[in-house]
């Protein structure tokens, strides 16, 4: 999302990252120039509120689409850092309006399952009315 931040900002919105761990990794990203807040939610209240689920061990191992995404990222030199959280936690992307109401959400169903950036920006432009 860091690479898309300028487009998000141009749409009149901000960005926030939320993860279960880890403070030192978040701080390293901030020190590396991530231009938006990174927050930690160890108790997974945000995940529960957004209905972001977990993946069973069997589902994790047999998630061939997820492993394919992982391999594509690996080949693009997008290497995964040190694992510091529960493997079973899934990911997601959500858009909230200015009051914090969630108006759109993508709940990941496997490893590295994120929506295409164009889809997120299109929804964002609908919300903010920007072109």
């Amino acid at each position: 999302m860091a690479t898309a931040f300028q487009e998000i900002e141009a749409s009149g919105a901000g960005a926030i990252g939320i993860a279960t761990a880890a403070p030192d990794q978040a701080q390293a990203l901030i020190d590396g120039g991530i231009p938006f807040p990174l927050l930690l939610d160890r108790e997974m209240r945000t995940y529960d509120a957004l209905g972001i689920g977990r993946q069973s061990l069997l589902g994790f191992i047999s998630d061939y689409r997820g492993w394919g995404r992982w391999m594509r990222g690996f080949l693009r030199n997008r290497r995964q850092g040190r694992i510091t959280a529960d493997y079973s936690v899934l990911s997601g992307v959500a858009i909230a309006d200015a009051e914090g109401e969630i108006v759109w959400i993508h709940r990941g169903e496997g490893l590295g399952d994120y929506p295409r950036l164009e889809r997120v920006l299109a929804r964002l432009r609908e919300l903010t009315g920007s072109v």
Partner: protein, 36 residues
Amino acid sequence: MTNISNIEVVTPSGELVRIGDCMSGPTVFTILRYYG
């Protein structure tokens, strides 16, 4: 609809904050397992 602005989280430095305190308008949230 779900509102997440009152959920309490922490910053990397350990400060307790509400998500809404970190928002200044419409916001895209990226939800990750961890920052790796």
